[in-house]
């Protein structure tokens, strides 16, 4: 079974090839079959591989498979090799599983779109690239997947290419992430130059041997990898692309910009955890970046009008949690949050898509309302998603994962107290903006009529994801609540378990949990207070001087877009607009000089044959004179 591993990324690639080369001639039904089928088969193979993987768990923590040697020189040997361990299996399972559900959902969501085959081709390519990213045995292959998902993200954001602003958003996404990618690439150059290998396993072992903790080289490499991760995962300061990326179709946002691709940065840092452990300062930066992004995105999510932008900022915020967890060394907690986040965020996006679908592509939440009765399926699933995101205690998955992170931040030797306070504030804000959405969209008066619930192909993924959003949390229950730990030990094969700071006992954990619970519930309650009544308290709040300052500030994502516009984009355009060939002007001087001489010398060409004869004679005389002298 294990040797079927290579099929997991290859099958979606095959699907892509079929659809890209022949998609226009296939019926929609067949396209849907190919598109979903390839990912579905991948998911099945993942399950088969998983069975064997878990069987052989104790003695075989990883499995390698090489297809062929990709780059084969005497200095560098890089294989197209897959590496399956607990971490990558988790990622693969999420990608194929949720990927399949989203593909299924898309068959209906895009059923009246012209680019049906194109859409599924891109989606399949994305899944293939993402699987390559997580299964890669070496950093170069990882980079292949890394760039591949970036490309697919670009293509899918700009899927409706006839709108120029979508194209701009797509370019923005690609270019901003490419800045991160380039830093990542430079990191690879340094790693290879220093360690002469790119294999992830070897890099980690060799780095630990070669570089002392806190050494400059380790710091530089870690910072470069971090910039790469930050670009991909839309964290500060490269976060600006994600809200605009919502231009893509909603399933795309669900798959790429929520569940999978944006968490690639988390995966990268977790993958290279030994390296980051060598650079404690950089790890601290990871935590700070996560915390700042978390707060920035949460506050921005509060005031957005577009339902998808709210979700986009919430994604940034949740990934901020993951970065925070990574930064404090809670590797498993970060990935646990990745798992639950993938479920509930995909669910939220799909449910939002369902709303948008029934409202004929209306995305402004101020034109929505009272959809609770018209779209019951959507409402309930959305509610579950929002509850999971806010961390409604005990029943939702989000609670368990967020709690784990907050507990880690509380107890980690690497963290500071203010980080925990910030994270707690984030939890409060999460509750607030999640339920702002719920109350705006599903409660209150009806503003836009919906044209009915979606069909089966959209409903099934919603329900499955809702179930997962409620249940996956039970994989890791803190021992204050009964103590079932499956996820942590599972990942501990790959990732080190976090050490708890001395002096942490059950009572402090319980206190911490109560604080988290309270802040989330406080957020939800405040949302109900603000947004449920007809005459909104919020409008008055916004009207105050403080509100007038903060609302536009938050709406613009803390002004980063405007800053970058001024600092980079306008100078760049000015540069390229005026960038004539200034080097060519240097040759212009030569040309002018030649012309100058030409005009003067051509006067000697009188056209009179006797003049020529005379000059020849004079020339000869002068030569003779020279010889005579």
């Amino acid at each position: 079974m294990m040797n079927l591993l290579w099929l997991i990324p290859i099958l979606p690639l095959a699907g892509f090839l079929i659809l890209a080369l022949h998609g226009e001639h296939l019926s929609r039904r067949l396209v849907a079959w190919v598109g979903c089928g390839s990912v579905g088969m991948s998911a099945c193979i993942t399950a088969l591989v998983g069975v064997e993987f878990f069987h052989g768990l104790p003695d075989r923590a990883s499995y390698q498979q090489t297809m062929w040697n990709w780059i084969d020189t005497s200095e560098m040997t890089v294989g197209l090799s897959w590496h399956l361990d607990a971490l990558s299996f988790l990622m693969v399972a999420v990608i194929t599983g949720i990927g399949f559900l989203i593909h299924l959902y898309s068959t209906e969501y895009l059923s009246d779109d012209d680019g049906y085959a194109r859409f599924f081709a891109y989606m399949n390519l994305f899944v293939s690239a993402m699987l390559t990213l997580v299964l890669a045995d070496n950093l170069l292959l990882l980079y292949l997947g890394w760039e591949g998902v970036g490309l697919c993200s670009y293509l899918l954001i700009g899927f409706w290419y006839h709108k120029p602003e979508y194209g701009t958003a797509a370019q923005k996404a690609f270019i901003v992430t490419r800045i991160g990618d380039t830093a990542f690439a430079v990191g690879l150059f340094i790693i290879f130059t220093q360690l002469k290998t790119l294999s992830i396993q070897q890099v980690q072992t060799l780095a630990v041997e070669a570089w002392p903790v806190g050494s400059n080289i380790a710091m530089i490499v870690a910072v470069l990898l971090l910039i790469g991760a930050v670009g991909k995962s839309a964290q500060l300061p490269l976060q600006v692309w994600l809200p605009d990326a919502m231009a893509g179709p909603t399933p795309v946002s669900a798959l790429i910009h929520a569940a999978t691709m944006v968490t690639a940065g988390v995966y990268l840092i977790a993958r290279m955890h030994d390296l980051f452990a060598l650079a404690p300062l950089v790890q601290g930066i990871v935590a700070v970046v996560g915390l700042l992004t978390l707060l920035l995105a949460a506050s921005s999510a509060l005031v957005q009008h577009d339902i998808k932008r709210v979700l986009a900022y919430s994604t940034m915020s949740q990934i901020g949690y993951m970065f925070l967890a990574l930064g404090v060394g809670a590797w498993s907690a970060a990935l646990f949050h990745f798992l639950t986040h993938s479920c509930f965020k995909a669910l939220l996006f799909l449910a939002a898509g369902s709303v948008i679908h029934s409202l004929h592509h209306e995305q402004d939440i101020f034109r929505m309302g009272g959809l609770r009765r018209q779209l019951p399926w959507t409402f309930w699933t959305f509610l579950i998603g929002a509850a999971a995101m806010s961390g409604v205690p005990l029943i939702t998955a989000g609670f368990y994962s967020k709690d784990w992170i907050l507990w880690s931040v509380w107890s980690s030797p690497l963290s500071q107290q203010w980080m925990w306070v910030g994270a707690l504030l984030g939890a409060f804000l999460t509750g607030l903006y999640s339920f702002r959405l719920i109350f705006r969209v599903f409660f209150g008066e009806v503003r836009t009529a919906a044209h009915g619930e979606p069909g089966l192909a959209m409903r099934v993924p919603l329900v499955v994801l809702a179930g997962l959003s409620l249940s996956v949390g039970f994989l890791e229950i803190p021992h204050t609540l009964g103590g079932l730990s499956l996820f942590g030990p599972y990942l501990s094969q790959v990732l080190p378990t976090m050490e708890v700071r001395p002096g942490m006992d059950d009572s402090s954990e319980a206190f911490e949990q109560i604080a988290v619970t309270c802040s989330a519930l406080l957020g939800i309650g405040l949302a109900a207070f603000f947004f449920l009544p007809r005459v909104s308290v919020v409008d008055r709040l916004v009207g105050t001087a403080v509100g007038r300052f903060f609302v536009p500030f938050w709406q613009g994502g803390w002004g980063f877009d405007r800053l970058y516009e001024r600092a980079f984009i306008q100078p760049w355009f000015a540069l390229t607009r005026d960038a004539g060939e200034f080097l060519d002007r240097g040759y212009g001087v030569l040309v002018t000089g030649a012309e100058f001489c030409h005009v003067r010398l051509s006067r000697t060409q009188t056209g009179h044959i006797r003049w020529y004869a005379a000059t020849i004679a004079v020339g000869t005389l002068m030569l003779l004179g020279l010889f005579a002298l």
Partner: protein, 517 residues
């Protein structure tokens, strides 16, 4: 067996007049003759490739196939051809891109068809000659030989501003050639000083001992002569005009092959002949390469003319070649070879598509395009593919080239390499900007426009498949050129055979003839 080398050169050259005459028989006869000749050449090169033992280690002067006939023995000039992995790969590329260029010209060129193909074949014969000749005079002969047909191709069949472009091209390349000629003759004289016998043979001149000052000047001449052709700033200004004004097929040849002759010259002559000088010179040359990458990319971003954009992107890609050639590490040199092939394919594809767009809209101005994906999805999807190749998407051949170069250069010049890597971001900006302005956005065109024909689509698909193949399995190219790369590195690491022992004074250069036997 040695005759096959001459066959490689002579097949296109002999087919050239034939295809000119073929015009009288039927409209397509010239095209078919040219196509047949190049296919034959390609097959021949493939046969050589399949026979050659690419794995065998060989230093300089040990060639896979070699052919030497005396020509002008008094001046040490002989008809000396040699084939090694590098030239084999480049000849394969030449024949392949030649075929592509002829297919690209199938509908594009309608007047003086026979003469056009005659010129194309002559130029390609010259290019192959350049890749094979290892006698300097013979090399120079082919080097000059390919220029005239190319000049004619631009001046006769080019776009509106063709006269300016063709003159500029000719002047720049001629100036470079002049330097080359002077340096070659000087070397032959120096050889006579040292051994009493003038020689233009590669192997002889490789072993020549030079004073430092002399070597500097010669190396500089060899460097500039080839860099003009490559090109890199500040010698590149002929490139955008020439690439833009040339007809599609010729643009493919210019970018895909002519630029490669410059790179080939650097690898074959400049670097191994003056290893000491080059190691001192390397930071400067690599800086020039990085400057080319960035300069080309910035200018590519500012273009509105599609072909000009591609031309500047080509300049940017050539910077990687300069960067890698002077890094003198195995990885960088392997990357250079890969980049040579990959750039030929990617830029060739883009020029083909630009030609297809020009044929349909009679303009190269991207401001007048937009939203074309809807009307011509085949063109658009292929353009997307080649734009991705051009921005160095992993899994495609350009990525292998660029990354190997960067990997190899980083260990030598980290700062320059990091600067060069910024070019990757810029490549994304101009490639995607091109896609956005041309194929995405609002559709302006209301006429119904035919999409790519099956032949053109198939051609592009073939190039795309090659890109993917070499991007995922570059071993065939890397293994073929490995002996050459090894030898290059060896020559760089050996400090020129104890050079300063018998210095030849430059002051005696043109005087003493006494020791002629």
């Amino acid at each position: 067996m040695p005759m096959t080398l001459w066959l490689l050169i002579l097949i296109p050259m002999l087919a050239a007049p034939l295809s000119w005459m073929g015009q009288q028989w039927s409209r397509h006869a010239a095209r078919w003759i040219a196509l047949g000749a190049l296919s034959l050449d390609f097959l021949l090169a493939l046969v050589l490739w399949s026979q050659g033992p690419p794995g065998s280690a060989s230093g300089h002067g040990s060639w896979l196939v070699e052919s030497q006939t005396s020509w002008i023995p008094r001046w040490g000039i002989s008809l000396h051809l040699g084939l090694d992995g590098l030239s084999l790969v480049l000849i394969l590329l030449t024949a392949f891109l030649g075929i592509i260029a002829i297919i690209a010209s199938w509908t594009d060129i309608q007047n003086r068809v026979g003469f056009f193909h005659c010129n194309v074949l002559l130029a390609l014969g010259g290019v192959i000659g350049v890749f094979l000749a290892i006698d300097l005079i013979l090399f120079f002969f082919f080097w000059e030989f390919m220029l005239v047909p190319i000049y004619l191709l631009i001046a006769v069949w080019g776009h509106a501003n063709r006269r300016y472009a063709s003159f500029k091209f000719f002047l720049f390349t001629q100036a470079g050639s002049l330097l080359l000629l002077v340096a070659m003759i000087t070397m032959a004289f120096l050889h006579q000083q040292a051994t009493g016998r003038p020689s233009f043979d590669y192997a002889d001149l490789m072993g020549l001992t030079l004073t430092r000052e002399m070597a500097w000047w010669l190396a500089l001449a060899f460097f500039i002569a080839f860099v003009v052709k490559l090109p890199a700033p500040p010698f590149h200004t002929w490139l955008p005009d020439t690439y833009t004004e040339a007809p599609t097929g010729v643009s493919i040849i210019l970018a895909g092959l002519l630029a490669k002759t410059g790179a080939y010259g650097l690898l074959r002559y400049t670097v191994p002949m003056f290893p000491e000088i080059m190691s001192e010179f390397a930071p400067f040359a690599m800086g020039l390469g990085a400057a080319g990458i960035l300069y080309g990319a910035v200018l590519a971003c500012s273009q509105t003319d599609l072909k000009r954009l591609i031309a500047y992107s080509s300049l940017s890609h050539m910077g990687f070649i300069l960067l890698g050639a002077f890094a003198m590490t195995e990885l960088a040199l392997q990357g250079v070879v890969m980049q040579l092939v990959a750039h030929g394919l990617s830029t060739g594809g883009l020029f083909l598509l630009a030609g297809a767009l020009y044929e349909r809209f009679q303009t190269r101005d991207m401001r007048q395009m937009g939203g074309l994906w809807k009307v011509i999805p085949r063109v658009a999807s292929m353009a997307l593919f080649f734009a991705c190749a051009s921005l160095g998407l992993p899994g495609l051949a350009n990525f292998i080239g660029e990354f190997l170069v960067l990997f190899g250069s980083y260990s030598v010049q980290p700062i320059i390499t990091i600067l060069a890597s910024i070019g990757m971001v810029m490549a994304a900006i101009y490639s995607l900007g091109m896609m956005q302005r041309t194929f995405f956005g609002q559709l302006r065109e209301t006429r119904s426009i035919p999409d790519l024909s099956n032949v053109a689509f198939g051609t592009l698909l073939l190039m795309a498949v090659l890109q993917v193949w070499l991007g995922l399995y570059p071993r065939p190219v890397l293994a073929t050129t490995k002996p050459v790369v090894d030898a290059l590195i060896q020559s760089a690491s050996l400090p020129a055979q104890a050079s300063h022992s018998v210095p030849v004074m430059p002051s005696t250069l043109f005087t003493s003839q006494a020791n002629t036997p």
